[in-house]
């Protein structure tokens, strides 16, 4: 692992410096900075220069980065606005789970894969990873659009649905499906998100000032906000949903009480850590797996299916809002990111997925993440609310 050869400040310099350099180049080319930062990871990573390899420390900085990213997005949105679009979001999330699942399953069966492998690939196409979309929309000041709010709400619901699919598929591979356990998992996850989304803000509004008025430390409000962030992210994991869903719900719960100071301090952490999340995605890009044309063809078919099925599935769910919103919402739900990779990893460790198919899923997860900011730039055309240069 080359990363172990460099001391920490050198690793920080390479990762952060290359991200900002590539981001800047992409902006000059009128392309999203985010994509440049992800590709910086591919350039410095094992697939090209080989300066940096994924390791525990970079993983932690990346996980922390995406937690703060979703926390910051949550701070910019009000819970009641998300609940108002809850019905549409539910439809978007459900169709966005069903269509990709059956498409992935069908493609793998047509390719000649065994039943269980096909089911796992279907499952890996299910879960949207909202980090990139949220970052893209936040950077361009588009979080207040109706489409953005539906995307965020649908992504949270999607995470709960993805959890159910993963539980079902895993128990299927083990030969016995425990419906009671799956129902319990689903119930816990759903209860956690619904309770927090509905009453989180009110609870925080009531409880936080009580602590705050007693705290003597400077910036005590920021410390309390971070404790809420870490506590809800931890609780999210124990109820079965992703830590970033907890982080988003923490931001949402604090969006009434957080003042400008808390938002500025959070922004400082984000500016440092989010590049580690983006570069971390690029680091995992591995093109060496595509030595046979058949694998490459499968990868491209799965990538196309990954994009089209979310566009169609989620788009159908939002059909009542007009074709422009269909496009925005459908494309916003495209990125799969880590969640798809985790499903494929479980399949690999259970030996029901071949290493070839694993590489295909990882490629799909990364490629959908890279293309999304480009596609969103087209879908959300029009004046940006936030000037690019300050």
């Amino acid at each position: 692992m080359p990363a172990h050869e460099f001391p920490l400040p050198v690793v920080l310099l390479i990762v952060f410096g290359s991200a900002k350099l590539m981001g800047e180049i992409f902006v000059k080319l009128r392309l999203p900075a985010l994509v440049g930062e992800i590709l910086a990871g591919a350039v410095i990573g094992p697939s090209a220069l080989g300066w940096i390899a994924p390791n525990d420390t970079l993983k932690a900085l990346s996980d922390l980065g995406v937690m703060f990213l979703l926390f910051d997005v949550g701070l910019q949105v009000k819970a009641h606005e998300l609940l108002r679009v809850g019905g549409t979001a539910m439809l978007v999330a459900m169709l966005g789970v069903i269509v990709p699942f059956f498409a992935g399953w069908g493609i793998l069966l047509a390719w000649g894969a065994p039943q269980t492998e096909a089911v796992f690939v279907g499952a890996s196409l299910v879960a949207t990873s909202v980090g990139i979309t949220a970052s893209s929309l936040s950077a361009r000041g588009l979080l207040q659009e109706v489409a953005s709010k539906i995307i965020l709400a649908a992504a949270v619901i999607d995470d709960v649905l993805g959890l159910i699919v993963l539980a079902a598929v895993s128990s299927l591979a083990q030969g016995r499906v425990n419906f009671l356990e799956i129902a319990f998992t689903a119930g816990m996850a759903a209860a956690f998100t619904v309770i927090l989304a509905k009453w989180g803000t009110a609870a925080v509004n009531r409880i936080l000032p009580h602590f705050h008025s007693r705290a003597d430390a400077e910036d005590a409000q920021f410390h309390l906000s971070l404790i809420v962030l870490f506590a809800l992210s931890a609780l999210a994991i124990y109820t079965g949903v992703a830590a970033i869903v907890g982080a988003f719900l923490a931001g949402l719960a604090l969006s009434d009480t957080a003042d400008n100071r808390v938002r500025d301090l959070t922004r400082g952490v984000n500016e440092l850590l989010v590049p580690f999340f983006l570069v971390g995605i690029g680091l995992h890009l591995d093109l060496s797996a595509f030595r046979t044309p058949a694998t490459l063809a499968l990868a491209l078919v799965i990538l196309a299916a990954a994009i089209l099925t979310k566009l169609i599935g989620c788009g159908l769910g939002a059909a009542s809002l007009g074709w422009q919103n269909v496009l925005k919402i459908g494309l916003g739900m495209v990125p799969r990111g880590e969640v798809g990779m985790v499903v494929a990893q479980i399949g690999l460790s259970m030996k029901v997925i071949s290493t070839e198919v694993y590489a295909v899923v990882v490629f799909m997860a990364i490629a959908t993440t890279i293309v999304t900011p480009l596609l969103l730039k087209i879908a959300f055309r029009g004046p940006s609310l936030k000037p690019v240069r300050t």
Copy 2:
């Protein structure tokens, strides 16, 4: 390692939450919050509750925390003000190296230790770790006092001197002293710090606006500042001095150009990461080594010597400034922190230091760090420039 059993958000919650809770309790008791945060590490660490053990991720967050701490301190000081007190600081640093070295050496010889072991313990008493003092002075708004500036300048010189002592002692233990190599190491380290302290600010003032005017990204000035921070910290390591000296010099170089936005964003990172540095110190506290009264007695003698020798040595160097400044400067230079532990670790790996004596040095390093904020509170009595409650 229990820390591996918990997912990242749970570790963050335990470390950050316990630090802030203990800090708050200490403030209520009219004791420095810093000491509470260090002791939080001792409480949650292997020596008490055992919830968290040191690991790579916590080490990285701690290292990042102390880098940002020194960077922030550098931002609050002007280079020319440090250079103005350079003569006194040089005297403070040199006497603060000579007195502790001979005291440690003499005590160990009197205790019956072999010559090489005594030399290593003397060397482990040499280097001041300025993180705690800087944090203490910064938190209380005391960085603009003359004594504070002498402490900061002397700590930088002390780091270069400590490097020379470490190089000499290591080569002594290997049986042959390469004077040319030691002179080269010392020259590189001295050149790095002197060049940066003298011309760093001017160079940054000339170069940075050039980049800034071309950058399109929002908060580009903060990104550029972070790149300067990481680059100088990395360069510091390669020239032989500590990464935190590079971080401090980076802050110093940017202290003219950094606007309030950059300072606020830096503060956000600090508020998150500095508790990981403080808790990290407490995590390493291990009282189980003191099972025999002889070791415990040695530990207490070495601790007393560690405090008194810096107080006397550094104090003598600042004698011309009156006894109040003697007290402030002498006590400010007391904490040894990591640097002393590193010397002892090298001695342990070369098998010239026993595990008992190693435990004594680690105890001394942590204990001097814990007592310093308490002693500084007494030395810097009088109205604080910065209100504690905001």
